[in-house]
Each structure stands twice: as structure tokens, then as C-alpha cells.
Amino acid sequence: MTSPNVVIDKEIDARGSHCPGPMMELIRGIKSVPVGSVVAVLSSDPGSAKDIPIWVQKAGHEFIGAFPEQGFTRFVVRKMR
């Protein structure tokens, strides 16, 4: 699957932002939306592939997936609590 099969409510472009930039941007994004919303963050930082899923699990949200694109990855998360 190359693109998420969900409607994204908020997308944050954190490309070019160094570790832990994208993860902190995702956290900010999640804070700003209601429960149930889907947030996507675009990251070109290889560290995100490790950090983001661990944080999402720890924070009790749903990790919908990581979708690679040209030069970056779109991480998609649903806010659960």
C-alpha cells in the first residue's frame, strides 16, 4: 500500500527538520485536534521510522502506517485519547 486509505484531517510538513523535529511536530499536531482525527506528518529524517511508531504506541494512539514517497515518508496516525 503506498497511500493511506483514510481521510487525513491535518497534515504537517516537517521535511528538512532534523531529529526529533518531525516527532515533536506530530505531538503538537495531535495536541491540536479532537479525538478520532487523523494526523499525517511528512518527514525526511530516517530516525522518524523508529521514533514515531514507538511514541504512537506509548501514547495510546493508532499507527495507521508509514507511506514512503520520493525523498520523504508520510506517517499517518489516528488520535485515540
Binding site: 505531538i27 514507538i54 506509548k58
Partner: protein, 379 residues
């Protein structure tokens, strides 16, 4: 040739150095340089780290801004309230308009403790003179219990400072015979104890050696000052007797109110030319920017040189190709009279050497020699 008006907004490390370097590179016929600062006092903030442990009082780390500026730089003391980037002027609180051809924004970062519910009654910090003194008083009274140290949000200035505080604290408690009676926990918002991986790998074993516990992925949501607990967005709650939490940082209000910043008030700045992404005649230096580097005096110092060269070059008709490569150089106190050094840039992560007394003395030397070396541009 008309005299160009250069306005530098902010008299901290970055602004003072840019103004002095420009004054050295341009004649009065080429440019008039004006620096605006709210308080007219230059503060060396790294000195605050030592205040909670009975180090020199905050006044020792302050000098009059005028005494640090070259004579040809005009100083205006007052609060700037708005920037008009199209008409090119800075408006002061008294309504005066200061016109510019070039503007350098060096307004630093602003603390916003109120962004964390319960912060005011529940937490201490050392990121201002007053707060550092309050923490000193609280530490003097402390006789054992749980101390929790952390950062409320990223970015914050001087990223190693809370770790340095933790190491100095552990050392101090040992000297006072309180270490056995105290549990120390360090909170990190991300998946390791420090943002830069190599530094994290260096620091984690030191913490473990000294029995300092840490909690990862802890993004502060609120503090309960009555029950003395701090809770995270991730659902963890930790009890404390003394909480030291670096408050959330934001950009200066003048940046957001002038429509020049991002959602947090940081200035969108080109990472190499240091120009504002929308207005090339506006530059950003130091903590005010959104650059992906440590908010530090060291970064501001390297950036100031690039900005001065670029502006002076343009005025002289010989454009400079100098670019900022993300250079930062700072020390990290590790306690027991020792420190290490972090040297890095956009493409080279730091490789901290083994902690030693040498780096601790280097840092102490810099703290004293700062006034002569840094704002003047000697180094």
C-alpha cells in the same frame, strides 16, 4: 551614495555581535547602525546555571549594553512593538518609527510557563535570574526526597543545560550528604535522553553510573501542585517533592504580531543565508530563528559573522558568498569538576570527549572572558 540604515533588534549575544561587526566593516558614510534593546542591559545567561548552587549572583552576569557596543553604533533603549516589513520600519512602544534598509532580528526566545497548567505553583527553573534565585532558596531548604528534572517542550535554549543541572545537582547532593536520601529522575520528551543521538549515547551511561533515573517519551501535559505530581500526554504520572522544569519557549511577540513568524513565533529563516524566507533584507540570528540547530549563544555567534559579511558585502557592492553551515560549539558540565565539549554542524554530529577537568576550566574561563571576547568580535 546614500547612507544605508541598518537596524538590529535585540541586544543579546547575536544582536550585539552583528552590530559591532558591521560597525567594523562599514564606514559611517556607508551605513548608520542602530541597535534597539528593551532593557539596555546585556545578560550572559549561561551564568544562571550556577546560581541555584550558590554561584555568583545574577548581577554579576549583566553589563550595560552601551559599554559593549562600538561607539559608532547608536543604541535605542525601549520596547519595539511592531515591524512593517513592506514599508520597512520598526515601531517603538512610544510610537516612534525607526526606518531600515536592512533589519536583523535578534529578539531571542520568550518563556511561557503558563502554557503548562499548574506550572506557576508547582515548578522551579533556572532560565531567568529571578527563577534561578528562587530555585537556589528551594535547594537550600531541601533535605531529601524526589527531585524530578525535565523540559516542558522542544525547542528550548541551550539543550544541554538541564542535563548539566542534573549532573551538578547530583554532585552537590552527594557533597551535602543528601544523595542517599534523594531520588533523581530526568524526563525527556523523546525516545532518548538528548536530542542528538551521539550525545545521548555519551550521557546515558553517565546517568546510569550515578543512579540518575530517566523517563523517556514524557511530554508534559500538566502539573498538580497540590498532590505534587507531573503527568504526561502519554499517560504517565510521576510524583515529586521538587520539580525543575524548563518552561516552554516561544518566539518574541513582536514577530508574531508583525506576521513574520510561524505558529510558535519563530522566524522562518534560510538555514544558510540566514535571510527571512519572505523578505531577503530581513535577517534572523540566534534564538529568534526556526533554524534546526541548538538555540545557543554559540550558534548566534557563528551566525552573526555570516550576517555581517553578507550585509556589508552587499552595501559595498561586493556580495559575500558566506553561508552558515550550522556550526555550534559548547561545553557540557558533567559534575565532579569535569565537563565535555560538543562541536558540531549541520552535517557532522558531535563526538564528545571523555569528561575531564580541562573542559570544566575552559568553560569557567569562557564565562569570565566572555565580555572581552564575544560581543566585541575578537573571537
Amino acid at each position: 551614495m546614500t547612507v544605508k540604515q541598518i537596524v538590529v533588534l535585540g541586544g543579546g549575544v547575536g544582536g550585539t555581535l552583528v552590530a559591532n561587526l558591521l560597525a567594523g566593516q562599514l564606514t559611517r558614510k556607508q551605513a548608520q547602525i542602530t541597535l534597539i534593546d528593551r532593557i539596555g542591559k546585556h545578560v550572559y545567561q549561561p551564568g544562571w546555571l550556577y546560581v541555584p548552587f550558590g554561584g555568583p549572583p545574577p548581577e554579576r552576569w549583566e553589563r550595560s549594553e552601551r559599554s559593549l557596543l562600538r561607539r559608532s553604533v547608536d543604541l535605542i533603549i525601549g520596547d519595539a512593538v511592531r515591524i512593517d516589513p513592506h514599508e520597512r520600519y520598526v515601531e517603538m512602544a512610544d510610537g516612534t518609527q525607526i526606518p531600515f534598509d536592512y533589519l536583523v532580528i535578534a529578539t531571542g526566545a520568550r518563556l511561557e510557563p503558563s502554557a503548562v497548567p499548574g506550572y506557576g505553583e508547582g515548578a522551579y527553573h533556572f532560565y531567568s535570574a529571578e527563577a534561578a534565585l528562587r530555585l537556589h532558596a528551594a535547594l537550600r531548604e531541601f533535605s531529601g526526597g524526589r527531585i524530578v528534572i525535565g523540559v516542558a517542550d522542544i525547542p528550548y535554549k541551550c539543550p544541554p543545560a538541564p542535563l548539566e543541572f542534573t549532573f551538578l545537582l547530583e554532585d552537590e547532593l552527594r557533597k551535602r550528604g543528601l544523595r542517599e536520601k534523594t531520588e533523581i529522575t530526568y524526563l525527556s520528551p523523546i525516545g532518548r535522553v538528548f536530542t542528538i543521538e551521539s550525545v545521548s549515547q555519551f550521557v546515558t551511561p553517565l546517568m546510569e553510573e550515578r543512579g540518575i533515573q530517566y523517563e523517556l517519551f514524557f511530554n508534559t501535559e500538566q502539573i498538580d501542585p497540590v498532590n505534587r505530581t507531573i503527568s504526561s500526554l502519554e499517560g504517565t504520572t510521576i510524583p515529586y517533592d521538587l520539580l525543575v522544569l524548563v518552561p516552554p519557549h516561544r518566539g518574541a511577540t513582536i514577530i508574531s504580531e508583525s506576521g513574520l513568524g510561524d505558529a510558535q513565533g519563530w522566524l522562518p529563516t534560510d538555514r544558510e543565508t540566514l535571510q527571512h524566507k519572505q523578505f531577503p533584507y530581513i535577517y534572523g540570528v540566534g534564538d529568534a530563528t526556526d533554524l534546526p540547530v541548538s538555540k545557543s549563544g554559540a550558534a548566534a555567534h557563528f551566525e552573526a559573522k555570516v550576517i555581517a559579511h553578507r550585509i556589508a558585502g552587499e552595501i559595498k557592492g561586493k556580495p559575500s558568498e558566506e553561508r552558515y553551515q550550522g556550526q555550534v560549539m559548547c561545553f557540557l558540565e558533567t559534575g565532579y569538576g569535569q565537563a565535555t565539549q560538543l562541536v558540531f554542524d549541520y552535517t557532522h554530529p558531535p563526538h564528545p570527549p571523555k569528561p575531564s577537568a580541562y573542559y570544566h576550566y575552559e568553560k569557567a574561563l569562557l564565562n569570565r572572558a566572555y565580555w572581552h571576547l564575544i560581543p566585541t568580535g575578537i573571537v
